[in-house]
């Protein structure tokens, strides 16, 4: 029952969010600010996890390839495919759900409990639209770039780890990275990334927007937002994979 109630409430929330903004000029400058806050500020964490993820995939693949019949380029190939298909979209999505999601839920939640949202409403501004739409647009725009960045850094991470440990030969790795490339996989992952970007921004905004109480409740809402957007990402991942790759 709670689930259905929430779905209904969330739908009504989205109707508010996607109505016409008060001033398109302010919307544009807000989007720029959110791109900076949600996207540019996440570059660091995306680079770090992608670097290590790529490194680990490369090492694990290399150490598991005991069969001499397997071609040497397989390590580079596996790293690339893993990054492109899953890690740079889903894992990065989950990490961002934690970072960006808790940030959004606590920002909007504290605006609610300190009556800043009421202050917007009393001015005649649609607060849901004003606060949330720029975040959703910004994330859907910038996260695909984070995805591309993650793929590149991950492949580089594998290359560095493989060379430093001497587990792969540079030319083999590079051959593998170029081997059997299917461009559609990139499109598939970009679509996933855009959907995850929506989840990462809309769900935490929703939890923050309807907070009741004080600082304690803001904290709780933020936790709920991260947990539920992570679950939704995993669910969306399965559904989108079934639709797009079958």
């Amino acid at each position: 029952m709670n689930l259905f109630e929430n779905v209904g409430k969330f739908s009504r929330f989205l109707v508010l969010v996607f109505s016409k903004p008060e001033k398109s000029k302010t919307l544009f400058s807000q989007i720029i600010r959110e791109i900076d806050k949600l996207g540019i500020n996440s570059i660091g964490i995306v680079v770090i996890i992608s670097l290590f993820m790529g490194a680990v995939i490369t090492l694990q693949t290399a150490y598991n390839m005991l069969n001499p019949l397997l071609p040497d380029y397989l390590v580079g190939y596996t790293t690339r495919e893993s990054m492109i298909l899953e890690f740079s979209s889903t894992i990065v999505g989950l990490i961002l759900a934690g970072k960006v999601g808790s940030n959004i839920a606590s920002e909007i939640g504290s605006m609610r409990v300190t009556e800043q949202i009421d202050a917007l409403e009393i001015m005649g501004i649609n607060s849901a639209n004003h606060l949330v739409l720029p975040k959703i647009i910004a994330a859907i725009f910038i996260n695909p770039f984070l995805y591309i960045l993650s793929v590149f850094v991950g492949i580089m991470g594998g290359l560095i780890a493989g060379s430093l440990t001497g587990t792969v030969i540079l030319t083999d790795y590079i051959e593998g990275v170029q081997y059997g490339f299917i461009p559609y996989y990139i499109s598939y992952s970009l679509i996933k990334t855009a959907v995850f970007a929506f989840i990462i921004t809309a769900i935490p905004s929703f939890y923050g927007y309807y907070v009741k109480g004080g600082a304690l409740e803001v904290g709780k809402a933020s936790t709920k937002a991260v947990v539920n957007s992570s679950i939704l990402i995993l669910l969306a991942n399965v559904i989108l994979t079934q639709i797009l790759l079958k």
Binding site: E22, M111, E115, D118, A119, I122, G124
Partner: protein, 250 residues
């Protein structure tokens, strides 16, 4: 002028407002007084439509606010200014940006004119040289003053203040009260102030409405407030030793 007719409001099982009817007059400070939890904030938020009333109606001059859809209400809201209990300044914006915000959203003036207006309002509430500070960097009294500046930026016809001087020292509290009174007179605003502070009542109360447990119990002027034989109001007014002494003397 704002007219409230037979308003009821409850949350689930909790009845908060019970058949409230009040006329708030223009150019006057209308004070809603009562204990904490008596329903002052809920009444104020019902008047401005942040809470939907269960029944009854609210008129802004002769416009039926209750019957309006969101679009109609938005138009009236542009004539409202509100000072929230905690100030409710946007904490991601500087002092100046806070006051500029309503101007940027709704005024068609040039950037220069908007900036002038914002600074005029800040001057009006005696804030100088703090334009680029953030709300967290200024005192509670200054926050309230900036909130007033933001509320008057668009020349409101209706000004709402929820406990504008709560949490302030007595001197600053009186300054804030008088500032609101002056602005009310200057621009002939219909001002509604929630307070539980008897000092405010004596300082700036013109029309006073006493609310107890969601009922309007008494209405009158500050002179009448000492002569009433209403027990609830007496308990409220003479809660402090100071006012008990005043009563003895007079």
């Amino acid at each position: 002028m704002i007219t409230v007719n037979n308003v009821y409001k409850s949350f689930a099982d909790l009845k908060v407002l019970n058949d409230i009817s009040i006329t708030f007059e223009a150019g006057k400070t209308n004070l809603i007084i009562g204990q904490s939890g008596s329903g002052k904030t809920v009444l104020l938020k019902s008047i401005i439509g942040l809470h939907e009333v269960d029944s009854g109606s609210i008129f802004y001059n002769d416009r039926n606010f209750t019957a309006m859809n969101l679009k109609g209400r938005k138009e009236i809201r542009k004539e409202m200014g509100m000072v929230f209990q905690g100030g409710a300044l946007f904490d991601s914006m500087t002092v100046e940006e806070n006051v500029l915000f309503p101007l940027n959203m709704f005024s068609n003036s040039s950037e220069k004119e908007k900036k002038e207006r914002a600074n005029f309002c800040l001057n009006r509430v005696n804030i100088q040289n703090s334009n680029h500070l953030f709300p967290a960097e200024i005192s509670g009294g200054m926050q309230k003053r900036v909130a007033i500046a933001r509320a008057i930026a668009l020349n409101p016809k209706y000004l709402f203040c929820d406990e504008p001087n709560s949490g302030l020292d007595p001197v600053t509290a009186i300054l804030i009260d008088n500032l609101i009174l002056e602005i009310t007179k200057e621009y002939n605003i219909t001002t509604i102030i929630n307070t539980h502070d008897m000092n405010s009542v004596m300082e700036i109360g013109e029309k006073i409405i006493f609310i107890s447990k969601g009922n309007k119990v008494w209405e009158g002027t500050k002179d009448g407030i000492f002569d009433t034989d209403n027990e609830d109001l007496n308990n409220f007014v003479f809660a402090s030793e100071l006012y008990k002494k005043i009563k003895k003397i007079s």
